[in-house]
Each structure stands twice: as structure tokens, then as C-alpha cells.
Symmetry: C2
Subunit: 329 residues, 2 copies
């Protein structure tokens, strides 16, 4: 132990209970950190939306990763789940296991998590810190107007398949993080790709904007190859994807050949873009919502009745090499 031992209670208070003097309490928080549980007020007429996602050292981030990035990602992956439901995130709790109390580490971790929480007006309302291998579990709570959650199961035959932003960047960024020697000569692109991995941007506003327009949604955490079959199956459908339409960033194209870029876009995961299905007549409304948010939206395929996914490259059948990120792979 490199620091004085602190009790759980003091730890949470010191690093996570940001409450500047005079600050008004967050919306809906009747009781926050410091009691046995938080007490929260849901807006009337709304449904509660709840999810949990965990990051484990060595599995979701490399040992030695900047703690600010770990804090950011732990919340971002959960905000992305809210986005995928069209939900407004409101509150979060944190379960943090770490081998030892390192104040400098905790301060950076908390800053990464709380800066992103502030950006989305999410209040951290509870937590649990324990000694153990570095594991970060965030539980996110949000809400939607009654009946307006965008589910995976709502896709209809003939719906267009669309994705926000660009795919594969985070996969390329992680590859640079793993093999820093490859950065040389392409520093700018590597930095922008690495930022996509370390500081993903959950598409919260786009998810909310898609309520009542998209027929189904999910977030791309495990790669299109791993995720699209889940949406298709939940909707009792299949899909056709035109691989030449996958949106690839200039940075990705500058560091990878077409085959490598496609592999990352299909299977690397960690992009946290949104995958939507939308009836063709409604696509223009979804596109307009994306434009208002300064976000690109790309049609990459369509839903069909026959089960399974047809991956097509310029019209020819294509077998993806990756099977998507498997948490036990």
C-alpha cells in the first residue's frame, strides 16, 4: 500500500461526491451518495431504463491505461446503452474494485468519469469500492416517455439499416496502442484513432432524437458482425449488408488497406456508434435529426424476411473474418 488506508465511505466521499458549495442538486436526486441507497424521482409519465456494463483490466483496457480514459469509457459504454434505447440518462452508480488505494489514480479516474457525467447531466448517486483486481462496473439509470423506448425487436421487413459516424476507428486505435512502433510516420491519424478508442462519444442525443422515427436500435459495442445478428434475431428477421457502404474515416483509410479497414469496421468493436433500422419513408427524418447533431448517418443495408445476415461486397457474397468481440473469446 502506497497510501494511508481509507475506508470505503471516505473513499467514495473524497473522490466521487463532487458537490461544490452552492451548487443546486441534480434533477431528481432526493438522496444521493451517503445513505444505504439513493432515492430518485422519475419524471411523471416516464418509464425507468436500466443497464450495467463492466470494464476489466486486461480485457477491456490494457494495463497502464490512463485512468482518465478508464473512467470516461466506464460511463461512456453505459451512456451508449441509454442512447441505444432512446433514453435520457439521469443517474449512475459505480462498483469499483482495485488492488490498492492510489489517490493520484483515483483522482484521474474520477475526473474522466465525472467530466463525462457532467456533460450529460448525469448524477453519480451511489457506489461501492472494494479491494480486488481492477474491475469497473457502472450501472446507468435513465428514462423515456412511456412507450417510446426504441427496442431491438421493432425492425420490419424492408426497413433500411443505417449507422451513425464511422466504423473501425476504435479497432485501429487499439491496434496502435498495442503496437506503438507502428505509429511512426502516421502520428496524427494514430492519435485521432486512439482517441476514438480511449474517449468514445456515446450518441445520446441521436438516440433520443430517433424516438418515434427509428423502428429499432442498438449500439455497436462488439462490432457489426457480432451485433447485427442480435438485432435481426430480436426482430425475427435477417439482413443484407453492402460492405462497400460501411462508413470509414479518412484517418482509418490513411493507415489501413481496404481489407484491413473493413475487418476493423466489421469486427473490432468499441465504436459505440448507433445501428438503426428505419422504414424507408422515415429515413429523411432520421437523416435530418443526425444533420442537426452534426453526425453522419449512412445506409448500409436493409432488413429482409429470411433469417441470417448476407454480407455482400460489390454484390458478391463475403465471409467476414472476425466474429465480433466475444467477452469470453
Amino acid at each position: 500500500m502506497s497510501a494511508p488506508v481509507l475506508g470505503e465511505f471516505e473513499l467514495i466521499r473524497r473522490f466521487f461526491a463532487r458537490s461544490p458549495a452552492g451548487a443546486s442538486p441534480r434533477a431528481g436526486v432526493a438522496v444521493g451518495i451517503g445513505d444505504d441507497a439513493a432515492v430518485l424521482n422519475l419524471p411523471s409519465g416516464s418509464q425507468l431504463v436500466a443497464a450495467v456494463d463492466t470494464l476489466v483490466e486486461g480485457r477491456h483496457f490494457l494495463p497502464g491505461t490512463d485512468p482518465r480514459s478508464i473512467g470516461h469509457r466506464a460511463l461512456a459504454v453505459n451512456l451508449s446503452d441509454m442512447a441505444a434505447m432512446g433514453a435520457t440518462p439521469a443517474w449512475a452508480t459505480l462498483a469499483l474494485s482495485m488492488p490498492a488505494v492510489e489517490p493520484a489514480w483515483l483522482e484521474q479516474f474520477a475526473a474522466g468519469l465525472l467530466d463525462l457525467a457532467d456533460l450529460h447531466q448525469v448524477a453519480l448517486v451511489g457506489g461501492d469500492t472494494t479491494r480486488g483486481p481492477l474491475t469497473v462496473s457502472v450501472q446507468i439509470l435513465g428514462h423515456v416517455p412511456h412507450g417510446s423506448a426504441v427496442l431491438r425487436s421493432g425492425a420490419q421487413r424492408g426497413d433500411l439499416l443505417a449507422v451513425t459516424g464511422t466504423l473501425g476507428d476504435a479497432g485501429a486505435g487499439l491496434a496502435f496502442a498495442r503496437t506503438p512502433s507502428k505509429v511512426s510516420g502516421q502520428e496524427a491519424a494514430a492519435e485521432s484513432l486512439l482517441a476514438r478508442f480511449e474517449y468514445p462519444t456515446p450518441r445520446v442525443a441521436m438516440g433520443i432524437a430517433a424516438r418515434g422515427i427509428a423502428s429499432a436500435a442498438m449500439d455497436l459495442s462488439d462490432g457489426l458482425v457480432g451485433d447485427l445478428p442480435k438485432l435481426a434475431q430480436a426482430s425475427g428477421l435477417g439482413a443484407t449488408v453492402a460492405l462497400e457502404k460501411l462508413p470509414l474515416s479518412a484517418a482509418l483509410r490513411s493507415v489501413a488497406d481496404a481489407a484491413q479497414a473493413r475487418d476493423w469496421a466489421l469486427g473490432a468493436g468499441d465504436d459505440y456508434e448507433l445501428l438503426f433500422t428505419v422504414a424507408p419513408p422515415r429515413y429523411v427524418a432520421l437523416q435530418a435529426a443526425a444533420r442537426r447533431l452534426n453526425l453522419t448517418l449512412s445506409i448500409i443495408g436493409e432488413m429482409r424476411a429470411a433469417a441470417g445476415i448476407s454480407w455482400l461486397l460489390e454484390g458478391a457474397a463475403f465471409a467476414p473474418r472476425s466474429r465480433g468481440f466475444d467477452h469470453f473469446g
Copy 2:
């Protein structure tokens, strides 16, 4: 890996998505496991109550512990947080990290968790499984009628301090688990004490019954010596405790001398009994509620204006040896 690799999705579905054909969906669950997040309906006029608690192998349970006990405890410690607020538990999510997929282990773990969930009509509505050191985080969601949560901060000067059940049993049980050679000759008592540690009973019904009667409540997870100061501080008060009034079970008294029994009752933690403060005229109502639930309730002291806790044994000042369970101790 001793079993075929399963994806996260299949894992959750196979072991945790108990949905017998024809069973009616749980109250309030609009969307359960299988989407990006759960969608839940809170009873009208109620507030959401949320907490999270984590168990780490080697820290909260010994390596080799029966997975059924781990599953039970992971939920029980969270139900106990609901009890401490007077909340009705309704839904839970699970973040499970484990080194490998062991179907036999998972089946027992899920049985322990889901049997207790069934008992309290709690629905498991989401989860996340990852490969990593064995760590179990449960997030519990419940509700209270608006304004009726029992907080730590509500105690008043002169309130009586009362606890449910008996204290120290789990500490003694854990000692037997750590040193099995000591069991010999006192098997029956050891078994009953060990059960208090491995299968704690969260006092959910008592917590709900205490709404509107108790002025403050918390659950005893870290031992009275560690927990009481938190309640006193939250209420801006101190307390006096008469150690000879600590409720000790016959099993505990049969295996430990008075000093050892007192140490466990004060500092061992893991009892998950409720600590209440209650105005003297209201004590009879709290006592009657406990009696209806076949639960003992014992007055152990009272709240006072001066800060700090006075531990008295037969009227004389006493210095507890333990400082309570510290998650980083």
C-alpha cells in the same frame, strides 16, 4: 477453458433468463434481459431506490465457496440495502466477472441468486458477463411511496437505538469456515452460525414495516462499531450503547466466551440485521411490527446530542478492539 466458449449473450440467456413457459411477466418489467437496457414501470406515486454492492473472491468470500452461497449473498447484501431504506425491492441487474465459463458453477450460482430473487419477487432484468477475476456486482432497484424512505439522517436526540435479530453469528460462522478443525465437538452450532454467514436473511419486510415508525435505519454489513458512527454522523448526533444488551444467539454463546462473542457482535460484520432509531413513544409500534414478522428487536442504546459513540459495558467505558470491516483494511 473446460467448456465450449459461449458468448456473453448466450451465457446470460442460458443461466439467468428464467422464464418458464406460460409464466406471467414480473410486475413492472416492460423489457427485460436481451435488449441494450431494461425498461421498467415504477408504481405511480413512488420514488426509485437504487443501490449497488460487490462481492470479490478472497475478500468477501473464500476461494472454493459454494457458488450457491455466492449467488445468494450477492443479492442478499443488496436486498439488505433496500430493507435499510424501507424500500420494496423490484428489479436487479448483475455484473459478473469470472475467469472461465464453468456451467456447473454458473448453474449453482444462478440458483442461489434466483431462488432468493423469487422469494422477494425480484426480477433479474439485465446483466453483463466478462472474463476476469471472480467479482460479482449486483445493482438493486426498488421503490418507496413518495417521501417515505427511511434515511440514516433522521435520528433525533433521545431516540432509542434498536437492532433486529442477533449479532455476531456471521462472524463466528466465518471463523469456523476459516478453521474447520474448530468445528469438532460443536457441529450443530457451527453449522447454524456458518449458515448465517453463507445465507444471510435480508430483513426486507421489517424495513418496509418500519416506514413511518423508525426515524432512521441502516443495515449492519460492516459491524456495529463500523456502521453506527455513520448513522450518528448522518444525523448530526452521537450515541450511547450498552454492550450487555447486544442480542447474542444461543449458538454464538455456546461456542464463544463473552469477550469473543462481544467482539464478533461489534466488529465482524456480515450480519445484515437492521439498526433502527425510533422515538421512545413509537417503540411499541416497531416492536409489534417485528413480532408480526417473528423477528426479535432489542434496544441497545440511545441517541444523544454529543458527537461520538460511548461504548459502555455494565456502565463502564469500553474500548472495542475491532474497528469494523474496512473494505481496504
